[in-house]
C-alpha cells in the first residue's frame, strides 16, 4: 500500500474526490456475515444477497474470501468498496509474505485491515460504509480468532462468535442461544446456517437460503491446515436439514434448557 501510494496512487481507495449526498440506497450493499470459533479453528459464513435500497441487486454475491492461507475476510456494507478492500488486503498480505519470506502475525494482519478501513472514511461519511469481519488461525496459540471493526477503523477482538451487517442483531441473538464452545466443525457450521436463516427471517436485506435456485451461504473454514471453502453440496445438505426442520418449527431449534 505504501508503494502504491508513491507509485500509483490512483489504484488506492480513499483518494477519490468527494461528491455530496447520501448514496447509501443507490449502490449495492452486502448484508449479513457471521463468524464463530470451534476447537481447532474458526468458521466464517455470509448470506448471498446484495441490496440497493429496496431492490435486490444480486442474489448470489459472495462476501466471504480467503485473505491468505490461514485467514478469512468478509465484508458487510457497500459492495464495490468492500470487494476492492478485500482485493487490496489479499494483495498486501501476499506481497508482504513474498518480500519478507514470512507471513505477518494474525494481529499484524488485523491491524493492516484497520488502516484500509480508515482509508475509506470519507466514503463512509457519505453512507458508503464498509465493515469487514476478519478471522484467522493463530499459530502462536493454536486457535481461531475473530476481529471486528467499526467504520473508522477501530479494531476489536471478539470471543467465540460475532456478526456484522444489517441482519447481525438477529444472527447474534441466534448464535447466543445455539453456540457452545465445544461444537464440532460440522455442528458449528449448522449453528451458523441457523443464525443466517434467523437473520433472513427478520431482516429484509438478508437473503435466506434460496431453495428454488439452490443458492446457499458461502462458508469458509480456517484450521491449522489452512483456509477451505466448504463445497456447495456439503453446505446444501446442512441447509436442507435445517430447512426441513423449520417446516415443523419455523422459528428454528429451541434452546434445550432454561437454566
Amino acid at each position: 500500500m505504501d508503494f502504491l501510494a508513491g507509485h500509483a496512487p490512483d489504484l488506492l481507495p480513499g483518494r477519490r474526490a468527494l461528491g455530496s449526498g447520501d448514496l447509501s440506497s443507490e449502490v449495492p450493499h452486502g448484508t449479513t456475515i457471521v463468524a464463530a470459533t470451534f476447537p481447532g479453528g474458526v468458521i466464517m459464513a455470509g448470506d448471498r444477497r446484495a441490496t440497493m435500497g429496496n431492490i435486490i441487486a444480486q442474489r448470489d454475491i459472495e462476501k466471504v474470501f480467503p485473505a491468505d492461507e490461514y485467514s478469512a475476510v468478509a465484508f458487510a456494507g457497500s459492495a464495490g468498496f468492500g470487494i476492492e478492500m478485500v482485493r487490496l488486503f489479499q494483495v498486501e498480505l501476499e506481497h508482504y509474505e513474498k518480500l519478507e519470506g514470512a507471513t505477518l502475525s494474525l494481529d499484524g494482519k488485523a491491524n493492516r485491515l484497520s488502516a484500509l478501513i480508515r482509508g475509506n472514511l470519507p466514503m463512509a461519511m457519505q453512507g458508503l460504509t464498509v465493515v469487514p469481519l476478519f478471522a484467522g488461525y493463530d499459530h502462536d496459540i493454536n486457535a481461531g480468532r475473530i476481529f471486528s471493526y467499526d467504520p473508522t477503523g477501530g479494531r476489536y477482538e471478539e470471543t467465540h462468535f460475532y456478526s456484522v451487517g444489517s441482519g447481525s442483531l438477529f444472527a447474534r441473538g441466534a448464535l447466543k442461544k445455539l453456540y457452545r464452545e465445544d461444537l464440532s466443525e460440522t455442528d458449528c457450521v449448522t449453528v451458523m446456517i441457523q443464525s443466517l436463516i434467523d437473520a433472513a427471517d427478520d431482516d429484509s436485506a438478508t437473503g435466506g437460503p434460496d431453495m428454488l435456485r439452490r443458492i446457499f451461504p458461502v462458508v469458509g473454514v480456517v484450521t491449522a491446515d489452512g483456509y477451505r471453502r466448504l463445497p456447495e453440496d456439503e453446505v446444501a445438505a446442512l441447509v436442507d436439514a435445517a430447512w426441513s426442520q423449520r417446516h415443523r418449527r419455523p422459528d428454528g431449534p429451541a434452546a434445550t434448557s432454561l437454566t
Partner: protein, 283 residues
C-alpha cells in the same frame, strides 16, 4: 593538456563483460529443471535465510546467482511489478514474458551505462503452464540478453560442467524424485572431484502445477529433501546400476523425439572457482 586514454568501445564492453562473468563464476551453481509436473529449482546455498530461489507470482518463480544485494533488488522489483499488475488487471495478466522483458531492460541499461558497474548476476524467470509444453524458462545474463531455455538451465559457478552432467542424464518428463537426484548429483560434479551434497547445503523449491492452491510455488524443506534423496538412493552402490539403466532410457528418448535440451550459451566461459574459500564471495 594530457590526452585522455583511448579505449575502443569493443574493449570497454569486453572488459565489463569479463568483470561480470568472473563475479558470477565465483559463486555456486543454481539449476532449474523441467519435470513432469512442473519446474524444479535446486541451488547450492549454505545460508538458510538468504534465498537464491523465490516466488514471484502464482505460476512464476525467480532464481539467481551472483551478488546477493544485486539480485535481491531485482527480485523485489519483480514481485512489485507482478503484484501491481495483478491488482490493477487480473491475476492471469501477469506473465513471465513481461517480467523477463522488464528484467532485460534493467540489466541492459545498467550494463551499457558507463556510470555504473555491471550487475554481477544471472537470473532465471520460470513460469509453468497448464502442460509441460507451456512451461517457459527465460535466462537473463548480466548484459540484459535473454534466452528462452528448454528442459534445464544452469547458472553460476562452473555452470558448463554442471550443465554437461545434466545434459548426459536428463530426459523429458522426468519424475520429481528423479529430477532432484539428477540436480543434486550434477551440483556435485562441478570440479575434478565428485562431491556429495547434503540437504543442509541445498535450497530446493518447485513450481508444481498439481498444487490445488492458486500459488504454485513451494519450498521443499530440509527434512522432505533428505527423505526424497534417501529414497532415490538408499545405499551408495546399490542404486548405481539403476541409475545406469535410467541413463540408457534417457539417451533413447532424447534421441527419438529429437528434442534435446538446449545447452546454455557458449560464451558462458567457465572459470574455475578459487581454491580458497572466500567469505565475501557471491552466493
Amino acid at each position: 593538456m594530457s590526452v585522455p586514454f583511448y579505449v575502443s568501445p569493443e574493449q570497454l564492453m569486453r572488459d565489463r563483460a569479463d568483470f561480470a562473468r568472473k563475479g558470477i563464476a565465483k559463486g555456486r551453481s543454481a539449476i532449474a529443471l523441467q519435470y513432469a509436473d512442473g519446474i524444479l529449482f535446486v541451488a547450492e546455498n549454505r545460508s538458510p535465510a538468504l534465498h537464491k530461489v523465490a516466488e514471484i507470482y502464482d505460476r512464476m518463480a525467480f532464481a539467481a546467482v551472483g551478488r546477493y544485494n544485486e539480485f535481491e533488488n531485482l527480485r523485489i522489483a519483480g514481485v512489485r511489478l507482478a503484484d501491481m499488475r495483478g491488482y490493477s488487471y487480473d491475476r492471469r495478466d501477469v506473465t513471465g514474458r513481461a517480467l523477463a522483458n522488464a528484467y532485460a531492460q534493467t540489466l541492459g541499461a545498467i550494463f551499457s551505462s558507463g556510470g555504473e558497474k555491471p550487475l554481477e548476476v544471472e537470473i532465471l524467470v520460470a513460469e509453468i503452464g497448464a502442460a509441460p509444453a507451456d512451461d517457459q524458462v527465460y535466462r537473463l545474463t548480466y548484459d540484459g540478453s535473454i534466452a528462452d531455455v528448454q528442459g534445464y538451465a544452469v547458472m553460476g559457478g562452473p555452470a558448463d560442467q554442471v550443465a554437461d552432467y545434466i545434459g548426459e542424464h536428463y530426459s523429458e518428463g522426468i519424475s520429481l524424485a528423479g529430477a532432484l537426484r539428477l540436480a543434486v548429483d550434477a551440483l556435485g560434479h562441478d570440479g575434478t572431484e565428485v562431491r556429495q551434497l547434503t540437504p543442509d547445503q541445498l535450497e530446493v523449491a518447485v513450481l508444481d502445477r498439481t498444487r490445488t492452491q492458486v500459488r504454485k510455488f513451494k519450498r521443499i524443506s530440509e527434512e522432505t529433501l533428505a527423505r526424497i534423496l534417501s529414497e532415490s538412493r538408499p545405499a551408495e552402490e546399490a542404486t548405481e546400476p539403476a541409475d545406469a539403466g535410467e541413463k540408457t532410457d534417457t539417451a533413447e528418448t532424447g534421441a527419438s523425439d529429437g528434442d534435446t535440451p538446449v545447452a546454455p550459451p557458449a560464451d558462458d566461459a567457465p572459470i574455475a572457482p578459487p581454491e580458497d574459500p572466500d567469505d565475501n564471495r557471491p552466493l
